[in-house]
Amino acid sequence: MPDGKYPSTPRVDAWDKVRGAAIYAADDARPRMLHGALAVAAVNRGQIVSLDVERARAAPGVRLVLTHQDMQGVQSAGFLLGGGFAFQSFQPMLSPAIHYRGQPIALVVADTVEAAQHAASLVAATYAVEPFQLSLDAPAQDIVAQHGSPLPQATYADKVAGDADGAYAAAAVKVDATYLSPPQHPNPLELLSTVAEWRDGTLIVKEGSQNSGAVRHGLARQLGLDPARVQVLSPQAGGAFGQKNSHQSHTVLAAVAARRLDAPVKLVVSRSQGFHGASFRPASRHRVRLGADRAGRIAAAIHEADQQTSRHDLFPASFTEMTARLYGIRNFRGHERMVRTDVQTPGYMRAPFEHPAGFAFESAMDELAYALDMDPVALRLANDTTVDPLTGRPLSSRHLAECLRRGAERFGWARRSMAPASMVERDGTAIGWGVACGAHKAAASPAAARLEAFADGRIRLAVAGHEMGQGIRTALANVLARRLSVDPRTIEIIVGDTRAADQHLTAGSWGTASATPAADAAGERLIQALRSLDPGYSGGAPAEVLRRAGRASVAVEVATKAPGQPDAVFQRLQGGLPAVQGPEFPDFVSMSYAAHFAEVRVEPRTRRVRVPRIVTVVDCGRVVSPRTAESQVRGAAIWGLGSALREISETDGRYGGFVNADLAEYVVPVHADVPEIDVGFIDEPDPRLNALGVKGLGEVAMTGVAAALANAVHHATGLRIRELPIRLDQLLAAPAARPT
């Protein structure tokens, strides 16, 4: 029986990726390929009054211009959270209505990229404009409490345990603070790209996605097609980070154009248009109240939050699902509201709720530590738990205290002096050390897998899952290689292909915990099939067994699901709909955990913040692919750094839209910003969640990093910055640390 830690193996698709041979959607380059370009709305809200496309149609090389007048019969794919497939219910170009600046108003298709882009610039529109609002400080009618709303109340009602307000009122030591998290854009480096073509009445779409099943079923709904007539290929996404987790608005436009022109159409959405044409992390504001006794036992926590949504969809928040469970706080009240703004519907950007909630809650924990004059690590250790505070169920595994202890040891936390601005370099540079924790639901989805072994030595696994760079191919190869006792490099992994297996959304850190158990179960079934050919078979290359038996190949299929899920989830899987369980399971609650330790250096005159090092220790259950897992944690630390110190999508209250919509003005971390990042894993399996003991990693590793950095800035300067990103103007308010 295979068991124990997995070896650190190279990323299985790295050989292709370093040669530029890995194929992304827009890499489909063929002689007959036509190219699309979008023209977009120049106002934030209103109606198109006139749309002049004649100059565009007359431009050289142009084959087709589509507007809302050419889209008869096309429907919305429906909102992901409303039984549909798309990131928003609103499909642009089905009517003259404009709901946000940058919304597509026309698609130009031409022989070349250059001709299409030029012609798109010739599309002219006039509008009847309507007032809009973009602020969290919205009128009352634009604010919707999730509790009591039409949203499923099992998930979105207030999170209540005990009597938080009563316990808070009675607490000896209190913190009451409000924190702001800005809109941000995921900006995967791969632009939103689609190649659509029709062959014998079947629509074939190539698009980097985390949810090829939703793209398939979304297109089928939009175009009135049998889903059997839609194939979606997404062998890899060039980064996704939640922005590619559902059906996009531009995809159907390429499909309609390809049908009209009877030719493949490639539509690459520009970087600037991607800021407006796809989902983003919404702005949110968090009021956190903590009440504790003088020994640091937290008696009450109240977390109230407002989050931006669009006018056409209710995109709810799940901030308090995590903060209610981060510590053993018996009296908790979480309350969330949605604020309607005139934007495209926001969505899930990496650790969509856990990151902003973690910044707020873990900053408040640091404030409480200072109010108590208690070491911030000791405060967290004093509030550990083995029971889920919301349900009273046991936690399937929780090693957060060990993450804190190991992290503190690796970081050298014991050498920290408690007082702010007490650690200063000779040149006046202020040194700050901060700590924060993170948690993230450990969830899982159903998965279907087909495993085939061939007499020529090949082994092929097709499974529900998507490769966005997190390393799911490598994790699958590692698990299957161990199960079959073969070299992982001999296994071909097919993911993100609706022809090969029904595809479920890969997001929410459940990808590996859902796909690898399916692969492992398929491996076990393949061993049984091989034993029926050769009773003596006990692992190793299946090819020899097949050759001896005179068989060209053998194939097995399995379908797996999360603990407690009914068989009905397989219908949802087949229908391209999400079917996710967690963190609550019938007999337990499962979370992943992380502890982060960060050092900042604040330059005495400019107040520039540099980050020399971050230590992160993660409890994600069994680590099935150590090398890619370490990379994912390093990337998550950099995402935390970006969120803490760099990233904000600036909105324009006068004209709408996001004004810094490119990679020069939307500032992301670069090589020169990146610190030494020391990564540790607890690597203890959680066998209650699945046979391999895998929890989730990609998001918990980011959750709390921004708070650790903000807490370090406070330690360096004495300044408590409660609004991200932390910028020089906030820090210049403080007197410079005096050189000693």
């Binding site: 292709d16 370093v18 007959r32 995967p188 060039g238 970087r271 370490e630 990337g635 490119d662």
Partner: protein, 204 residues
């Protein structure tokens, strides 16, 4: 290190389907108006096409181009050399980095016609042969200097140039001189380690 010679890639084998690809690239402009049922309004003449002679990965090309074409779109859409990626089209991300006469440039900001008479090397031409890897490519695998892989061709082309320029003397110097290449997944630490491994193995 002889950065002027651009020694890596000059022995690169031709792309397998190069002739077909060239033919396809040249024939592109004459296929206008073949789709049935689509009204074609009287159109103004297309921009004059301009000839270009360029050597790419050691193979000579003779092309006829729309002068608006970027080097990146020429490589990708006309020559099917899709290793160089479009991440911004504004010279802000570095995913499209190629070598022109041994120097790294962002191909999205380089008009294709500016390549007249130049020696271009792309990620496809970096390895000494199709079964081998350049030491920098191997180092990226060894240090997992990639995740989604989209920025990787640009990072590797930039990294090779960074070493040849003499800007790989320390981790800090590498970070400074690689900061034009964004990696949104955050594989930066592995990339710097890879460059440190590959630099002494790249020879002179």
């Amino acid at each position: 290190m002889s950065d002027a010679e651009g020694d890596c890639g000059t022995q690169g084998l031709p792309h397998p389907n190069r002739r077909e690809v060239i033919a396809a690239g040249i024939s592109l402009p004459v296929v206008a108006g073949v789709a049935s049922g689509i009204a074609q309004p009287a159109s103004t003449p297309a921009p004059e096409r301009i000839p270009l002679r360029v050597t790419i990965n050691d193979a000579p090309y003779e092309l006829s181009l729309d002068p608006r074409t970027s080097a990146l779109d020429m490589l990708r859409e006309q020559l099917s050399l899709t290793g160089a990626k479009k991440g911004c089209d504004h010279g802000q991300c570095g995913a499209c980095t190629i070598h022109v006469d041994g120097r790294r440039v962002v191909s999205c900001l380089t008009p294709a016609l500016q390549l007249e008479g130049r020696q271009v090397v792309t990620i496809e031409g970096l390895a000494p042969s199709s079964g081998e890897l350049h030491p920098m490519q191997q180092a990226f695998i060894d240090h997992d200097g990639l995740q989604c892989g989209y920025c990787t061709p640009g990072q590797i082309m930039s990294a090779v140039a960074c070493v040849r320029e003499g800007h790989a003397g320390s981790a800090d110097q590498i970070r400074e001189y690689m900061s034009g290449n964004l990696c949104r997944c955050g594989a930066y630490a592995g990339i710097v380690a890879a460059i440190q491994q590959a630099a002494p193995r790249m020879g002179g």
